[in-house]
């Protein structure tokens, strides 16, 4: 990440390099040293009061609805506790041990990984393609933009119920379309792998508009003169896109990679509406498992342990992204 100081240093060195050639002209006169003007010092309690006034309500809400539940869940993860029961048995790290040694955990992790990689990766690629297409001067561009973005604002449950019928192998549109070209409908609901493909498709359909929207905004801020200069220099549109546009989209890509990853790992509504984690638990992600264990099975402690593990994964992934990926974003 670059700071103001870095930029300042770069400018200074650029000036220093440029000066000997005489292209820029005479060296700049050094800035006069800052003089210290005594200011009336604010009373600290006054600024604290202001802080409390402005940030207080927000902080209070965050503590009550985010940090407290977070820590509470951390505490519950050390208990063997039936949801609804007035008493619980402390088991230390027992729930974590149980999760890591459960034979079903490998499947849940695999499903979560496939779902996340497919929805985040696929979403970014398709979203970018849409954004590039929608950035062109085409007839009906406004309508097309609305159509691409519209699913994003719909409720996930409504989307899930809608697609439930679309994928129905007996009555659905996909079955009719595939039938028209002489292909039988895949067993979307009866095969765990196809079911996972199905929920990924629906997730992408719903959320790709968000990626497209953000990328579109970023594309519109790419300076035209850079592209014109490149085309004058004989760069093909593909080359210009790869070497100029893509790097300029770096910060946007970084931002999207974090936000889409977080929402993908936390997605629940479509799975609940379409497959309820089945068949054969083939669409049970970690998020769905938290719900399933906590509210269906009533294993509040175990469920909290899975939630804590997912939280840790999200935290680590986000920190890694902030530390490494962001450094490679060019500007």
């Amino acid at each position: 990440m670059r700071t103001i100081e870095d930029l300042q240093r770069d400018t200074d060195s650029a000036v220093a390099v440029a000066a000997p050639n005489g292209a820029v002209g005479a060296p700049l006169t050094p800035a006069p040293p800052r003089t210290f003007t005594p200011r009336r010092k604010k009373k600290p309690w006054k600024s604290w009061l202001l802080f409390l006034l402005f940030a207080g309500p927000n902080v209070a809400l965050l503590i009550v609805f985010t940090y407290k539940p977070l820590l509470q869940s951390l505490y519950y993860s050390t208990l063997q506790w039936n949801l609804g029961s007035a008493s619980a048995i402390p088991v230390g790290l027992g729930n974590y041990v149980a999760w890591f040694t459960d034979p079903g955990t490998a499947r849940v992790v695999t499903v979560t990984l496939i779902f996340t990689v497919a929805t985040v990766g696929g979403g970014m690629v398709i979203g970018l393609v849409f954004a590039v297409l929608l950035n062109r001067k085409l007839h009906g561009r406004g309508a097309a933009r609305t159509i691409v973005v519209a699913p994003y604002v719909l409720s996930g449950v409504a989307v899930g119920l809608l697609w439930l019928f679309v994928f129905d192998p007996n009555f659905g549109i996909t079955a009719a379309l595939l039938d028209a070209i002489g292909v039988a409908s895949p067993p979307w609901y009866n095969d765990p792998h196809w079911a996972l493909v199905m929920v990924i498709i629906v997730y992408l359909w719903k959320n790709v508009g968000y990626v497209a929207l953000i990328y579109l905004a970023a594309l519109q801020s790419v300076p035209r003169d850079l592209l014109e200069a490149a085309s004058l220099d004989g760069a093909s549109p593909v080359r210009a896109f790869r070497n100029i546009v893509l790097p300029l989209l770096g910060p946007t890509t970084f931002f999207l990679s974090i936000t889409t990853l977080l929402s993908s790992l936390q997605s629940f509504d479509i799975i609940q509406a379409m497959t309820r984690g089945g068949p054969l638990e083939g669409t049970t992600t970690m998020m769905y498992q938290i719900y399933q264990e906590g509210f269906q099975a009533g294993r509040a402690g175990y469920s909290s342990a899975v939630a804590t593990i997912l939280f840790a994964v999200l935290l680590v992934v986000t920190l890694i992204q902030m530390k490494y990926v962001e450094k490679r974003v060019h500007y």
């Binding site: 990440m1 063997q80 609804g84 500007y331």
Partner: protein
């Protein structure tokens, strides 16, 4: 482009953060369950009901099974006309039994607990071991409930340690539905097959002359492991004997082998993708095992005449599980509220209201007097299919503990049955995985609380 500020943390910020977390952690530790095992309802001291004055206001959480909101409101109106000093508030607390249960469990220990709550066949036991519901026998005796009139199986479904923990309300069973047009084309008698052996004889005709897949099967949680009770018990098997899983017995394996052979060897059954009832209504399958609760919907949706019959018998005879929901009274309320709730519960499940509810929803009349009364007789005249469901009630039995009383058991059994039906996994292998998981869940989530 603007440069974003660098993400740095200094010692002071860490200390501040730690202070905020510390304060929050203290807050967090203030709430939640107390530590230590076994505070089940059984340990609660019995209430002496004489001399207690019923509360003026009570709340009832329902999901209005069978779109019965108006029916429930009408019953409340009738109750308040008889007992003007008590107001009953009906709350829609979910769209199904699971959602009601989730809210009821989450409300535990707060002031939001209702006085009356629906307690379905897979949930009431967990309410009980959590100490959330009241044993009803003393209260029923005090209020002079006519409990002998209840269908015995349905009433005793809620028995554990000699107490009843709920009263039957919206109860259902699976029922055999068949497409009469298909039956006629196949030249079959106009009735359900009496046994699975008879179905085996009929199935090729249904496929060849009827032109449809003979049998539609349903998958998914809260469903597959319910209707499979029929095949399992019909072969002489069971999910469990009390708390011991018995899925490794030759009878249980035989039942699953039979199920698998219907799909893979004889190819006379198919597993519905989304909704077996919709597939049947659209004429894709010749017959299904559905809930009696679907009766009204199926009769309305089907474009053909629908016949109903008992579930086919296995080699060991007739086998049909019960299902649906009862109503329980919350333990965490004052005796005054519980008494008022008991008065309403008695009224709700009296003979007249049972018939009123049943005739309007399609759920089973849970009282013998209601079953044989005038209201229901009229219903049977109009929908003879309903009579079949009611007659079958006499053959039902309560479900195995290993499915309905252990958290996650239904999920494990569903997965096993889906493996058997969808992936042709050997039954012994699929059942072994489920049995181990259910036994572990019992050790962790049930036995410490008993």
């Amino acid at each position: 482009m603007t440069a974003t500020p660098t993400f740095t943390i200094n010692r002071r910020q860490i200390l501040k953060l730690a202070a905020v977390f510390g304060a929050t952690a203290t807050l967090a530790a203030c709430s939640g369950p107390s530590l230590g095992a076994g505070a089940g309802a059984a340990s609660r001291a019995a209430t002496d009901w004489t001399g207690i004055v019923p509360a003026k206001e009570i709340t009832w959480w329902s999901n209005h099974p069978g779109t019965s909101k108006l029916i429930e409101q009408e019953i409340i109106k009738r109750f308040q006309a008889e007992n003007p000093e008590i107001t009953v508030t009906l709350v829609t607390a979910g769209a199904n039994y699971d959602e009601i249960a989730q809210k009821f469990q989450a409300a535990s220990g707060t002031n939001s607990v209702p006085d009356l709550v629906l307690a379905s066949d897979v949930w009431w036991f967990r309410y009980m071991i959590n100490g959330q519901v009241l044993p009803l026998d003393d209260l029923a005796k005090h209020l002079e409930f006519d409990t002998d009139d209840f269908n015995k199986t349905l009433y005793d479904d809620y028995t554990f340690t000699g107490n009843h923990w709920a009263i039957p309300y919206a109860r259902s069973t699976p029922l055999f539905y068949y497409n009469k047009a298909v039956w006629a084309k196949a030249g079959l008698p106009d009735r359900a097959p009496k046994t699975w052996a008879e179905f085996d004889e009929w199935a090729p005709k249904i496929a060849a002359d009827g032109g449809v897949t003979p049998l539609g099967l349903g998958k998914g949680a809260s469903w597959a492991a319910w209707w499979f009770c029929n095949m399992l018990w019909g072969q002489g098997g069971a999910y469990s004997d009390e708390w011991t899983m018995t899925l490794d017995t030759p009878e249980a394996i035989a039942a699953a082998d039979y199920l698998q052979s219907l799909i893979y060897e004889r190819k006379v059954a198919t597993v519905a993708a989304v909704d077996q009832v919709a597939d049947f209504g659209a004429g894709l399958t010749g017959c299904i095992m559905g809930s009696t609760g679907s009766l009204t919907g199926i009769l309305k949706a089907a474009t053909f005449e629908v016949g109903t019959g008992f579930l086919p018998e296995g080699p060991e005879g007739q086998a049909c599980p019960t299902g649906g929901t009862g109503v329980a009274i919350a333990a965490d309320r004052t005796p005054e509220q519980q008494l008022a709730a008991g008065m309403f519960l008695k009224f709700l499940t009296n003979s007249e209201n049972t018939a009123y509810f049943s005739s309007n929803t399609g759920y089973m009349p849970v009282r013998t007097s209601a079953r044989d009364g005038e209201t229901m007789t009229q219903v049977y005249a109009e929908f003879p299919q309903f009579r079949t469901a009611v007659d079958q009630l006499e053959t039902t039995r309560s479900q195995d503990w290993g499915r309905v009383f252990v958290p996650n058991a239904d999920k494990e059994l569903t997965t096993a049955l889906e493996k058997i039906m969808l992936q042709q996994t050997a039954p012994a292998e699929a059942f072994a995985v489920a049995s181990t998981a259910i036994a572990t869940s019992f050790d962790e989530n049930v036995s410490p609380y008993l």
